[in-house]
């Protein structure tokens, strides 16, 4: 099968406009005859479901949460990018497009990214109209700040709760459609399989997490908006329940999985404090607007800080190494995430870390507080400072934050074409769950932008083009495909429960996380990746032999839910290793130690690897690699430089 991204012809500025003009429409009276399933209620899922409902489709929305509002988009802190140029700092759609392509280290599709930049401005309009209370200036107009990888201020924000406010906006739009009865919301349901009939996505199997019953749901199209798979690392900034299951099971039904090894390690998270640690907490990138990252210049001083004999405030200005400002004078503390993370790791590996484990650097607001005063800093970051203090017991107004990189986002995901349709006709994938737009590294404040562009503006238009070709007939859930898929889910669940071994899901998950972090984390090498595959296989074998799940399947059973997710992470991890092994170059978040410049920067190989790696599931055999070649007509790939 040859991958066809269906990118429209013509100049990049006109592609989306022209494409829309050519898409087939479904007339308003017929829209109500089509059913659409949307799985996930984060920014992408909620915005898509609401918009589809407004158009008149009958929409069924599924979430494993008790309410759509709890989806993990809620936790996004810093902001959302849009090329409004409100600051007159010479921003434009073209510049946002360029920054995103470059930030992604030239591994994203130009046409998709240009469309994203174009739509960014409408997202802000939409959110403001819904009542999203963005930060404003004294004149009553919208305020902006800067994020990594950009030299303009184009990030709109609502204190450190931008994701929450945008999600509540999309959720309110969804609630309106529930009231209008175009959308039905099924809460506490976890999707466990995709049902494919005659080669088309026709429904899903879910488990009701309260009663334990399995349910079959059919539709004319299925939209997955189920987020990223950062929790494969066990410790990440993702919510505890975030998982790969929905897209993984769709992969096993024939949807290609693209660029699985492109994962983002965020530079500013609170360092791990103990073995009991259940997750890591992000400190927003926006903090790098005013915070300065440093470690001591001398190893001895660092050692004394680690032992608690010195504090940050004892270290004089001349003894501090502001290593981002030193290495990247043009962007300073606002280099992209992959660059900042690697630089912090480099310092810590060299013995300059400032927390007892050695894995931590300072993020210091002393100078900003002196310059702007405590009140301004409180207004900008108050909730983040409070969050930090609650977790660590330290006051960042008085002593610098301690931070270290942690897994935050996954650029990889199911492969989709320009219409956001996967390789299974009728299966659409939006938001973080798809692979598009961010290449090998996502820029800060771009995830919210992409999730909402997909959900509000792209999918609701492109899905009509597919539906217009289908008959209206309701799809029966009594078809053999539905029954088989349901049976398979029940069997798998019973199999997991029946193992009755000695290790809990969390123990196995932690072990997996350590393997993935050590070998497929911030830096990778051939030897390690080969070893990782073997370790993952051994652990998978142990999982099926030694897992222990308490209780049964006809009740609320969180251990059972998690076991199913870890089961999939154990398979995904191997695909990540395989992908990282095959990509013999460094790009964005994928850093292969063998491929670096003299000063330790990522070294791409455009000649051999300028493509999207999309994997086709082949059962017990190795997955088949399909390549979608990337063509750069507007931005010429160069060695990325932030110096």
């Amino acid at each position: 099968m040859k991958l066809d991204a269906k990118i429209p012809e013509g100049p990049i500025q006109n592609k989306w406009k022209k494409h829309k003009a050519n898409l087939k429409l479904v007339n308003p009276a017929n829209k109500r005859k089509y059913e659409i399933i949307v799985v996930g209620t984060g920014l992408a899922g909620a915005s898509a479901a609401a918009s589809l409902g407004e158009l008149g489709y009958r929409v069924k929305v599924f979430t494993y949460h008790d309410s759509p509002r709890r989806a993990h988009s809620i936790a996004a802190q810093g902001g959302i990018n849009a090329a409004k140029n409100y600051h007159n700092d010479n921003d434009s759609v073209g510049r946002l497009f360029y920054d995103t392509i470059k930030g992604g280290d030239y591994r994203a599709r130009e046409a998709n990214v240009y469309r994203l930049a174009e739509l960014s401005v409408q997202i802000i309009d939409q959110a403001v109209a819904q009542g999203v209370p963005f930060a404003r200036e004294y004149g009553g107009l919208l305020d902006n700040r800067s994020f990594g990888g950009a030299q303009v201020a184009r990030t709109f924000y609502a204190a450190g709760q931008t994701g929450q406010q945008l999600l509540l906006g999309a959720y309110s739009a969804l609630n309106r459609q529930v009231a209008e009865k175009t959308v039905s919301v099924f809460t506490r349901r976890e999707m466990l399989d995709l049902v494919v009939v005659d080669g088309r996505a026709r429904g899903i199997i879910v488990r009701n997490l309260v009663t334990g019953e399995f349910e079959r749901h059919s539709a004319h199209a299925v939209v997955l908006a189920t987020g990223g798979y950062g929790n494969v690392y066990y410790l990440s900034t993702n919510a505890k329940h975030s998982n790969v299951t929905a897209i993984w099971r769709a992969y096993k039904r024939g949807a290609f999985f693209a660029n699985p090894c492109f994962t983002q390690i965020h530079p500013t998270c609170i360092p791990q404090s103990g073995s009991y640690q259940s997750k890591l907490t992000l400190m927003s990138e926006s903090l790098r607007n005013d915070g300065r990252v440093w470690v001591p210049k001398s190893r001895e001083v660092a050692e004394k800080i680690r032992r608690g004999e010195l504090t940050a405030n004892d270290v004089s200005e001349s003894e501090r190494d502001y290593f981002l400002e030193r290495r990247y004078p043009a962007f300073g503390n606002l280099v992209p995430r992959d660059v900042a993370s690697r630089a912090a790791k480099e310092r810590c590996d060299a013995g300059y870390g400032i927390v007892p484990t050695g894995l931590g650097v300072f993020l210091d607001f002393r100078d900003a507080i002196e310059r702007l005063g405590k009140e301004v800093i409180r207004e900008r970051y108050g909730n983040l400072f409070q969050m930090y203090e609650k977790i660590t017991g330290e006051n960042p107004y008085e002593t610098p934050m301690k931070i270290y990189p942690a897994v935050h986002y996954t650029m990889g995901g199911l492969w989709v074409d320009y219409n956001l349709m996967s390789t299974i006709p009728g299966l659409y994938v939006i938001g973080e769950a798809n692979f598009s737009d961010h290449g090998a590294n996502r820029l800060g404040a771009s995830a919210l932008m992409q999730g909402l562009a997909d959900g509000y503006f792209i999918l609701p238009v492109t899905i009509g083009d597919y539906l217009a070709t289908l008959p209206f007939d309701k799809i029966s859930t009594d078809l053999a495909e539905f029954k088989d898929a349901e049976q398979k889910c029940i069997q798998n669940t019973e199999r997991l429960i029946s193992i009755q071994g000695n290790k809990t899901v969390d123990e196995l998950h932690r072990e997996l996380g350590k393997i993935v972090w050590d070998y497929i984390g911030m830096s990778r090498n051939r030897e390690g990746l080969i070893l990782a595959r073997e370790k993952i296989r051994n652990l998978r074998e142990e999982f099926y032999r030694n897992l222990r799940i308490p209780g049964g399947r006809h009740e609320i059973n969180e251990q059972l839910e998690r076991a199913g997710r870890v089961q999939d992470f154990l398979e995904l991890a191997e695909l990540m290793a395989l992908d990282a092994l095959h990509r013999e170059e460094s790009c964005g978040g994928h850093f292969r130690e063998e491929y670096q410049t003299e000063d330790g920067e990522a070294k791409r190989n455009d000649e051999l690897f300028s493509y999207v790696a999309a994997y086709e599931f082949r059962g017990e055999e190795e997955p088949t690699l399909h390549k979608e070649m990337l063509h750069f007509e507007y931005v010429k790939p160069t060695q990325r430089s932030y110096k």
């Binding site: 004149g139 919510a239 609650k390 809990t504 209780g551 609320i556």
Partner: protein, 248 residues
């Protein structure tokens, strides 16, 4: 340090619950309270017992999933936090900690510490939105909103929908939750068109779900993880009064 946990156990919605006591050694002060429950649950699973069911997800105080009453206080003995942000440094060696689900008629217990808060969703579905279709929005800066007003709206909009206000209130009133949304939207120019109908519909939905009347004690504000102010309840009361005098 070592703590004793007296935890509410209830198999399902139908069965009557009871307290059980567990002792956890090797508690680290940097541990979060939910991590303490994780440690307890790992042990219970190994012992062949049923782990304690509780709601949680983001574990950074924003998703609103977690919520339990700890030593008589929703989200426990610290202010401006959700349960997931409660750390063991708030307790002392040898403490007995009583853990119960949020209790309210409108929040039936599903299992142990897990309650059904879908009533809150239904109130918002009744009118907690501004009617604007995707694609029909005007240019964002065409409606200036004074900074102070925007900030006041934001202070209400930060509600995480956890339900602590209901659990804290002796009447199990959802006034602070409902007021946060009514106030957020009533303050903004975008919310004016539906201002009158919205408050009527939402208050009606609130009453229908079986939440009690405002107790005027301010317990909700004291326990709210986002510090949402009683001002918003006052504003909702004015909005409601205003709405009753306007015929539409």
């Amino acid at each position: 340090m070592k703590v004793h946990l007296k935890i509410w156990r209830q198999k399902n919605q139908q069965e009557k619950g009871h307290f059980e006591t567990y002792t956890v050694d090797e508690v680290n002060e940097h541990m979060s309270f939910l991590e303490l429950l994780d440690v307890l649950n790992e042990r219970l699973i190994k012992e062949g017992k049923d782990p304690v069911a509780f709601s949680h997800d983001c574990r950074e105080g924003i998703c609103g999933s977690c919520g339990m009453v700890i030593n008589g206080r929703p989200h426990g003995p610290d202010s401006l936090i959700a349960t997931c942000q409660l750390h063991m440094r708030q307790f002392r060696d040898g403490d007995t900690i009583v853990v119960e689900p949020f209790r309210a008629k409108a929040f039936p217990v599903l299992k142990d510490l897990v309650v059904d808060r879908s009533a809150l969703d239904r109130i918002l579905q009744a009118g907690g939105y501004i009617t604007v279709n995707t694609g029909s929005a005007p240019e964002a800066n065409s409606i200036p909103i004074p900074k102070k007003i925007a900030e006041e709206a934001f202070s209400a909009a930060t509600c995480i929908g956890c339900g602590a206000c209901v659990a804290a209130c002796k009447n199990s009133s959802a006034m602070l939750f409902v007021a946060a949304k009514v106030s957020h939207l009533a303050l903004l120019p975008q919310g004016q068109a539906e201002r009158t109908e919205r408050v009527k519909k939402m208050v009606k939905a609130m009453d229908k779900e079986g939440f009690g009347a405002c107790s005027n004690t301010g317990a909700c504000e004291a326990e709210c993880p986002k510090g949402i102010s009683l001002r918003h309840i006052a504003r909702m009361n004015r909005e409601y009064l205003r709405a009753t005098f306007i015929a539409e």
